[in-house]
Symmetry: none
Subunit: 195 residues, 4 copies
DNA sequence: TGCTAAGCGAGACGGTACGTCCAGTCTTTTG
DNA sequence: CAAAAGACTGGACGTACCGTCTCGCTTAGCA
């Protein structure tokens, strides 16, 4: 077993929470560029050393702050793949068509791609909706609503990738119509699979 | 007309070129995080003041350095939309499946979205391939090869967005098969338009 | 002979005058620390190259600007060495108990002591009053009013040095009483010379 | 009382000492003009921020470096005001007839006259010898060696001012004979007081 | 109850880069 | 051909954060 009681004062969860709250507030109010370790320390009242004890740099702290609060698409009672996918995409687009969306993209771009925290952030924030979509499609295929997809990963990227593409490039708006069209086209690809 | 001869010493194109070359080298050798104005000045022998006279910050300098050197998809003599699109996507994926790809994504994420330079960078580096794809599709529709697309913007985002999605999230590799599948699915959507 | 007609556009005395005027204004309004070549160029409309053609650096330009305008003690019709010396010292103290006094001290301290311009500045601005005092004393000795001084240079330094000492150290004010006491003590030293 | 324990890491005296030593070395080897904050940081290994935490600019740093190391005139066992004063003046002249003398004058001229550090510098470096001289004279008057001086401040300025005058203007050398003559004249003024 | 280990805030430390200012030089066009 | 205009390299400025390191003070489990 590995539950040897550690000696000494235990790490303070209060400090972690205050730090995350301050980081989140700075991200929303001032943006990723202002999210410095020093600023979080000053705003939260947590010492810099404590921050470095919990996160290796400001970027990881940002990711930790952003992980909480991304609303997971609740299943919903939609009937039919198209309706369910459309609902999920609209929720996603709404969640990312905000300040937070761009902050998330910037954070991910700046993060060390090898880091453990980056992996967790990707899975929890970027790819969780993609996995939800995968489940919808697999379920629909299991029910015989659509044929089993040939390359589901590419398909998923074609549904979820455009959202981040528009956040990054900003050439077109993120809105409900866009979400619907993405879902539509996904179903088109699925059903047009050669029999 | 507004072609009054400017007085004083004209800006040195040599300085600009040296700066861009140094910036490009740093980007490729050390990454976007090391592209500081100071480093470019030191490496290029160009004064910091001259750099600030030409670009407002290191990020714009990075964009300027990245604008040159992105290979535009040459038209190619492919016959048929699917072949042409596949060829273009494979070239794009090859171009971005490198260090440069991630650097470009990071640069764009870090850039001020309102800046003039950012707009130019987006158009020249991120969206130029998208416009090439648009031309391919419009031409195919004009020839009657496919029906005229209902929402070509969403369709284009579904083709080009996934490339940047994979660069950013890194959950799946960028390779030729992926490029082909994207092109395939795009044609599927186009041809499946309601009869 | 050396009067070969110079070819080309003759040096502009107007440029020199504008430069000196601007330098003087900056010295009085903003102080010696703000007297940069760039500031003089900007304020006077004279090109930097022209300034460097006429003065080797900002400090020399400052000295040139300060040379003009120091009021030479007019002989005055005072009778008697003590009265004449007192009058002269009071005029001097009045002239240096201003912004200009401190600027002059700073300029001299910052100047290259070997430079030609520094020598001229010293002679015209710092030492001219000392020479006037020397003349007063020599004249008085010639008239038999006082014995011929043993070491007139030390005596002169004891009269004029304290003025700059107080400017530099600022431990005591420069005023008319001080000027009078200096003159008194000088006469005391002169008359107390052992016969 | 006001002895609240300071929180946080205490300032490092080692850093201060290293900085002062480096500043002093630069002053002596390269002169006041080369005493930049950057140079002190580079030479001492102390961070720039630490320097700015302790001194507001390079000039104050220079003054701090010059304060230490000015040899205070040791009382000496001279008998008689004239001998004592001569000895003190000769020591002073010897101390200032070096590179240091001019550096000190330049530093004082360049300093902000209002600053706390400037005041300390003046008192410790410029005026300390003057106060020593004041004590000699007061003591001699107390012993009945000379009459009590009418205006001791002016007298002191006439003794010590000429030293800085010669440093600044450089029209005459600083040497032992000059020191002796200053002391002589001072005693002459003192003893010639109205009977 | 006291000991001891570890986390805590605060804040100074050596650094790196920032963006600005100015020095002094060089290269244009204008008078 | 000199003056003016102004861009150039170079270097110091003073600031902001970085990530590390003492400090003195909790806050716990262990003795």
């Amino acid at each position: 077993m590995n539950d040897v009681k550690p000696r000494g004062r235990p790490p303070s969860t209060a400090a972690r929470e205050k730090a995350l709250a301050a980081a989140h507030a700075i991200l929303m109010e001032e943006g990723f560029g202002r999210l410095t370790v020093e600023a979080v320390a000053a705003r939260s009242g947590v010492g810099k050393a404590t921050l470095y004890r919990n996160w290796t740099n400001a970027c990881e702290l940002a990711m930790a702050a952003l992980i909480d609060g991304v609303p997971l698409a609740q299943p919903g009672g939609e009937t039919g793949l198209k309706a369910a996918l459309t609902a999920q995409m609209q929720a996603l687009v709404q969640a990312f068509a905000t300040t937070r969306g761009r902050q998330i993209a910037m954070t991910l771009a700046a993060a060390d791609p090898e880091s453990e925290m980056t992996r967790a952030f990707r899975n929890r924030v970027i790819l969780s909706s993609r996995e939800a979509g995968r489940n919808l499609i697999i379920e629909a295929a299991r029910c015989g609503e659509v044929p089993p997809p040939a390359d589901i990963d590419t398909l998923l990227d074609m549904v979820y990738g455009p959202v981040f593409y528009r956040i990054l490039a900003g050439h077109q708006p993120l809105n409900a119509v866009f979400a619907e069209r993405l879902a539509d086209n996904a179903v088109t690809i699925l059903t047009a699979a050669r029999p």
